[in-house]
Symmetry: D2
Subunit: 351 residues, 4 copies
């Protein structure tokens, strides 16, 4: 271990986002994990929460002491419930830390939108102005220069990677975009909730948050940027009886009815040429979420229905890696000037 490694801390390390970060950072060649902070679990050895890590992690969860954290860390990941990061990030930034927030706090350019959907007033407009939306496939250059990243939600990541080439290049009628998304239950976090019990969720399937899920305005903000016009999307999340994985099935009407599937495969491949984690599938192949399990990859399959004039795009990610912690590490890599894919898994175990 060297003094040349970047010292990294995690505030909110006890949840599923936290454990992914811990695991990824333990295997990252340029990083040293120096601070795990938490509130309710402060004082406990981390391996009390995750006994399978006993042999690799001998850190204890410490209190959230921002001064101490800033002293001991060059970069800090925040894995807290919505509404807490906005009180911590300004302090950490002022002390020179790079900050990567996994909550919704720094995802919105317009804080009124945040307040409307997340029910919290915000005073940190100046800090918010610094924040870059942490989707490297769209904002790679801005991320490289940023000190503060608002890491995207899991659903927006899958949805925007599916939609971006279409919106950016004006191939679809924007208001026809419908995102039918399906997620494993780990997206609900490591909190005890009756509807997330195996006995409840196993062997069943349902929608939730129909027409009112909070990832909707987040998708719309970025989609509007890409389209160059304000637009609204239909977004419906579903809970699937599995642990990990998101599949977004995206529907939209093509402007040009002459476009065929192979055109779009070419267009997507070009759009993501510089993006090591996005894999465009050959025609007739649709992604399985399991292909992305434990990796930072996004697999995209594309179909055109000549009968209806619609494009159907299927995008699959691991909701906790590319949809959360892995993407945050991808951002850190860019911020630090490292190779974008450094330390990030690219090969799932199968089956």
């Amino acid at each position: 271990m060297g003094n040349e490694k970047t010292r990294v801390g995690i505030i909110g390390a006890s949840g599923y986002g936290g454990i992914q970060l811990v695991r990824l950072l333990l295997e990252h060649p340029q990083v040293e994990l120096t601070y795990l902070a938490g509130h309710s679990s402060a004082g406990k050895p981390y391996s009390d929460l995750y006994p399978h890590l006993t042999h690799r992690v001998n850190l204890t969860i410490e209190p959230i002491d921002l001064e101490a954290i800033a002293d001991r860390c060059d970069a800090v990941f925040l894995g807290l419930p919505n509404g807490l990061a906005c009180d911590m990030a300004p302090v950490l930034l002022a002390k020179g830390c790079k900050v990567l927030d996994l909550s919704a706090d720094y995802r919105f350019r317009n804080l009124n939108t945040y307040t409307e959907w997340y029910k919290k007033d915000r005073q940190d407009q100046a800090t918010n102005n610094q924040a870059v939306y942490g989707l490297p496939e769209l904002y790679r250059d801005a991320i490289k220069d940023a000190q503060l990243i608002g890491c995207p939600g899991c659903y927006p990541t899958a949805s925007l990677l599916a939609l971006s080439p279409l919106l950016k290049q004006g191939f679809i009628v924007p208001e026809t975009a419908i995102i039918d998304a399906k997620s494993g239950t780990s997206g609900g976090g490591r909190e005890a909730k009756v509807n997330m019990l195996l006995a409840e969720a196993e062997g069943s399937l349902g929608a939730y948050g129909v027409a009112k899920h909070r990832h909707t305005p987040e998708i719309e903000q970025i989609a509007s940027d890409l389209a160059g016009t304000e637009l609204q999307v239909q977004f419906t999340p579903h809970l699937i009886p599995m642990v990990r994985g998101i599949l977004a099935t995206v529907y939209a009407t093509l402007r040009d009815p002459g476009l065929v599937r192979d055109d779009l495969i070419t267009i997507y491949s070009a759009f993501y040429r510089a993006s090591p984690f996005v894999k465009i599938l050959p025609h007739g192949v649709y992604p399985q979420t399991k292909w992305a399990w434990g990796t930072n990859l996004c697999y995209i399959g594309i179909e055109v229905d000549p009968r209806t004039g619609r494009v159907i795009v299927l995008s699959a990610i691991d909701n906790l890696v590319k949809g959360q912690a892995g993407q945050a590490v991808q951002c850190l890599n860019l911020m630090m000037g490292w190779e974008e894919s450094l330390g990030l898994p690219q090969l799932a175990f199968y089956p």
Copy 2:
């Protein structure tokens, strides 16, 4: 057992459709199971295929001898792969049997559509003209008078129950209808296929048959009937890591932007007032497929998104009961003049 019971046979009793029929008919108060027929399993005790039924079924699977079947049965269910029933039904009908076919053979008014999608030429137009589409909620009266029923596919059942009130009464722009459907793997039948292994399908999720699934023209035929105009729908099936259940998430643009959710709940409730198996959920409640597990019920949840002007309808069934065998028994009840719900489960076990 009395001579007053209706004698019923099943051709193709070895698969998942067959075992559902066996189970439902064993508990049906007006029916006596008199003939189980199969090809590859002929000669075997039925309990060799399903050992848990040893204590209740002591029938042996017999060869498919249509003469013998017609002699010993008043009504016959056909649970065979597509393309076989059309060679058997004419014979059974000629001998006076009522016939309920669970395959696609008698679902299409226009046999050219059948031949286009199922790749088999048909000579039995006259017989086909007799067939009634076995969705009681739409064709109750015709079913009562029918001798031949083409029982609907599992996806069309869930999709059409969700769409019918909207189409029948002209509430939506027909060409905007998108059906994003999700099914448990039992829909694939009891055949050994690699992609249906637990090791492959568990913990994963994917679409299949995008823009080309054979249930599309079946949905379109009935939807066009309801709308009074030819229309096309977008239908995308997905495989979910669970045994049973279908959820159809249906999207469509409302013609009248002033319609609100409660209006539609009222409209649906009225539309299905005489249908004992369709349950319209109160506002804000969306169905879980598990609620319908093992029953002949269809649960429907309704949402309107005032931002986008769309209605989103969620419909959940057990793919093997309301989506297959239970609905066929429901049709038999109507054909025999019995109470529509006779012998059909209405209470799921939970969880």
Copy 3:
């Protein structure tokens, strides 16, 4: 509904035991459900807890008012956490109710054993003396005459049905009995616990309570009765990533090395001749828990290993039906002089 029906109440109707009772009693031909009582959910319509029952249950959960309950019920099921029934049963019995307790409170003849394992002192020795252990296959006659039933735990039911013929007739060396039991997670109840989340429990398997699970003394009490001597068993429970079902794999050394599998199949079949819910499987067939899903059945498979001189017995039940609520209804049937199997499901849905 008739005045001749038996009026039944459930105290503690909100959990998984409660919902099974509600479902079974709704379909029971001789019973009318007249009182659902609960503490934290008092005042709520029952269908708020289980929306899929909206169309069949319009009862509201009422407070636990023992006077009112006794006035309105002939028989009362108690589905409460351990340690509460012992304060209620005496009151209900005094007012003439039959009482069936699903907790551990009335399972132990010796209250010291109860207090040692359940950490609660007991004053109701007289009431406890009246209680009969509600395993009909062993105590059918006593149950018929009882007013108070201590319904068995789910593990003891599966374990004792596997062991009883061996112990009763002295075929095994008692201290060699090992029960390796596996249960779905619904056994943990409808309480929000992190380790029972789908995200935690799915795709994994582990033991718990090794050498100290509270079902051990319960099994030992009955096993000792059968053997006519005090004995100890090894009992290890495991949590399986599925909703329902228990499999007990029981090992024991045979006293007589000449006994073969078919002897034991004969012996078991004779032992359970009068027991409609126990199904002894033919040789070479081992039970799947799914065969019993939603039924009151217990499937038993038997193997002898001539190399080691051991018998291996496999017994499968639905932990919430034969392992809990169904068995309680079976007891009620006996107490009321009805047919033992009245209203109880005997046919699983498969798959």
Copy 4:
């Protein structure tokens, strides 16, 4: 890629063992994958079988041409059905390849035992004499010098790691050893079988091969070696509704009733001190199979029941990694003189 890398081939790369090897060897720093051979899939790009690997594997499956394989490989893994490797290994060894066989062909010192359980006559006694049983924790030194490895079965790996310290040091009465093992369904391989369909295996649990599974003599051979006396074990495998993972629950009677749990934890820790992949858990912690998912680790929990005088050992592995392909790579590392853990995953993703 350098000429200094060891050239490795896989015969039988299409199954689950094959895909694990491909994945592990792709990430191994000292290895170059030069030959993928198969019979039925020869001529196909490997990514036709596993589309998620398209971006990383552009090898095509070639015919099983032993000459060509020996020319292009320094070491060869055989991942074939039982009974085929014994015809290939002699040829490959004669040409100087190191051979690691994942089938049962080279696991038995006594070929009569092999023939009795696997029903194939063998002529290759001389080759068999060279074979070393590939369990590094027991045979590390012999593996270092070997040219031919008979890699252990998945159940024997979990069972023997749990039993070895007890047998080696005479702590238990050998004939009391009972192994109740539970496996995910991927152990059945990537072959289409009805009982392995998700629709059949999900939500259910059962034993199979009771008293006659072919891993029994394999466990007994090694256990007898350790104990220094011929012994027999009771081994019962169960199929669990999950993809990966084995848990072995091992019971045995202690010779010395004074031994307590902490003694055994100390003994196990010492026994496995030099074994980087075996993790002994602190008292009161029992392993979850998911902890080992995708890693080469074996987690062991230990309990003593002072009431019965038995030790209960719980051992959890990933059946396809430590139970198969990972352990084979661990053997290759030893044969090549590399660090034992080189290129092998040690950190599971969780949850």
